[in-house]
């Protein structure tokens, strides 16, 4: 493949930034030994169940779960996987905050994670207003005032079931999945931040004597 073409250069850059040992490493720094690290992958697992249960609901259509025991159970799976998703994600987010995980050129990792959280809130919100029941009626009529007050409601109408359903099952999940993928890639490219005060070049506390800047 010609390395002078943009596709060749893109491939080279991808291979350089994400070699197999970075993409799927079999070793991690010794400090990656806390339960807090589990919440990232738990969030991913919950997202997988949201997608699977949501896909099942989509296959049978929006009204299925109201009159079918099986449909209602799948809806319950969808609800509880969302609750778990947010629980794990919030713990993950606070954990990363108190680990200052944006240190060392990892700001984009934090930014993609935070934007994913916000996109997830929007996705879950649209889910609540397309339930076609009393809660969706009430939440939509209440939420419209906030949307309208800042001009969003004129274009993003929470009372329009068709518009909200499409956002919920296509646009917003696509955004969440893409952002999650980007976030995970950033984690793999940059690695997990070292403990605060520890120099990754030596694995020891960074002091005046070890203050030489490491290379990447």
């Amino acid at each position: 493949m010609s390395r002078s073409s943009w596709t060749g250069r893109l491939r080279d850059a991808a291979a350089r930034e994400l070699p197999p040992e970075k993409l799927l490493p079999d070793r991690q720094p010794a400090y990656v030994a806390s339960w807090i690290y589990v919440f990232g992958v738990l969030t991913l697992a919950a997202l997988a169940f949201i997608i699977v249960s949501g896909t099942l609901l989509a296959l049978k259509g929006p009204g299925w779960w109201h009159g079918s025991a099986v449909g209602h159970f799948v809806n319950s799976l969808h609800l509880w996987s969302v609750e778990l998703f947010f629980t794990f994600m919030v713990v993950h987010l606070w954990g990363k905050f108190f680990m200052a995980s944006w240190r060392g050129r990892r700001a984009l990792t934090w930014v993609t994670g935070a934007v994913t959280f916000l996109a997830s809130v929007g996705t879950a919100f649209t889910g609540y207003i397309v339930q076609e029941n009393f809660a969706s009626q009430w939440i939509a009529t209440q939420a419209k005032d906030g949307m309208n007050s800042v001009g969003i409601g004129a274009f993003w109408n929470v009372l329009n079931f068709g518009q909200m359903l499409l956002w919920h099952v296509t646009l917003l999940p696509a955004a969440v999945i893409a952002l999650t993928g980007l976030h995970v890639l950033m984690v793999r490219v940059r690695g997990v931040a070292p403990p605060i005060g520890i120099d990754p070049a030596t694995g020891e506390a960074r002091t005046a004597m070890t203050g030489s800047a490491p290379t990447r």
Partner: protein, 339 residues
């Protein structure tokens, strides 16, 4: 190509300390099994809420007095929707954030004519009721001020009647309005109004419930039910759902503002709360770039708990000196190396 790191980027370097075996795929599989079992267990034990939605028919049958009062308020322009302003009509300015009248500036994009859409147009479909037909003719032939006077008189009389019962309003100059609202009540009780208010997407298929939801929200029936379900705004309603379910707990901060002054009594509460949340959301995204906020983890050393096992073997300096970037104090060993 290898590039030099800036002095404060020393934490970006590759890890050259001790490592430990780590099977990412195994971790993901175990997580999927654990979360799968947890999800199935929670779904099986707690199920999910599904309180049936309110139809206009149910509203008209369960609370006919409220329905008639709401219909009258659509005619006299005193309903929430009639006085709303953008994006539904020009009858109000909407909310503002100080001098920023975004709602008004955006303008009307989803036109709603409460009197026409909710009362007059549906009644035009009624056949075989000479009383309603005559009332419609009288109403539409009258001047705007006359219509307004009839409707306002009737709304005032309804509010003074026992239980707001239209059958017990005092005699007055209401014109054809009582006949119109009674006719609409009958239409709603038959179930015909439900489909008539849904905006037709293509003349047959329907998916936009803006008009019936606005009409429903103009009455008190829906909000009374919400109050019973602990869903009102002053009950942290936006984050709750029917039954004993966690709801959207992640909206706690958004809902919180509505519980405290000045937002719990401000006419611009929605706009102000949205402005605050937009700023806070932006702040969350930009935490790494906000001086002070990004230093909180260094001041509240929870990281020492998280990495306690590593710190035991590799003591780190205290927060006061450990995490100030070397560049801020002068790099003790000269400029960064290039390799």
């Amino acid at each position: 190509m290898r590039t030099a790191l800036r002095p404060h980027d020393w934490e970006a370097g590759s890890w050259r300390g001790a490592t430990r075996p780590y099977d990412l795929i195994k971790e993901l599989v175990v997580a999927l099994i654990v979360v799968g079992l947890l999800t199935v267990a929670l779904a099986a034990v707690f199920s999910s809420p599904d309180e049936a939605g309110v139809t206009l028919q149910r509203w008209a049958r369960s609370a006919p007095n409220d329905f008639v009062a709401t219909a009258a308020s659509e005619l006299d322009g005193s309903s929430g929707t009639a006085a709303y302003g953008p994006p539904y009509n020009h009858n109000g300015n909407g909310q503002s954030i100080g001098p920023l009248h975004i709602q008004r500036w955006i303008g009307v994009h989803i036109p709603v004519d409460p009197a026409g859409d909710y009362v007059i147009s549906p009644l035009r479909t009624v056949r075989g009721d000479p009383g309603v037909a005559a009332a419609l003719s009288t109403y539409t032939a009258a001047s705007t001020s006359q219509r307004q006077a009839w409707a306002s008189n009737f709304t005032t009389a309804l509010s003074a009647a026992p239980d707001g019962d239209p059958a017990h309003v005092a005699a007055g100059d209401y014109g054809p309005v009582p006949t119109l609202t009674t006719g609409l009540l009958g239409l709603a009780q038959s179930g015909a109004l439900d489909s008539q208010l849904v905006t037709p997407g293509s003349g047959f298929y329907q998916n936009d419930y803006t008009k019936p939801l606005l009409f429903l929200a103009d009455g008190t029936y829906l909000s009374d039910l919400a109050q019973q379900h602990h869903l009102s705004g002053n009950q942290w309603g936006m984050m709750n759902e029917t039954g004993n379910f966690p709801g959207q707990a992640w909206l706690w901060l958004y809902t919180f503002w509505y519980q405290v002054a000045p937002f719990n009594h401000s006419g611009n509460a929605d706009a102000l709360v949205w402005a605050i949340m937009l700023i806070l959301s932006l702040g969350l995204v930009l935490v790494p770039f906000i001086p002070g906020v990004r230093s909180i983890p260094r001041l509240i050393p929870l990281h020492r708990l998280i990495w306690r096992s590593y710190y035991r073997g590799h003591p780190a300096p205290s927060a006061s000196e450990a995490d100030v970037p070397a560049v801020d104090r002068g790099s003790p060993s000269g400029p960064p190396t290039t390799s």
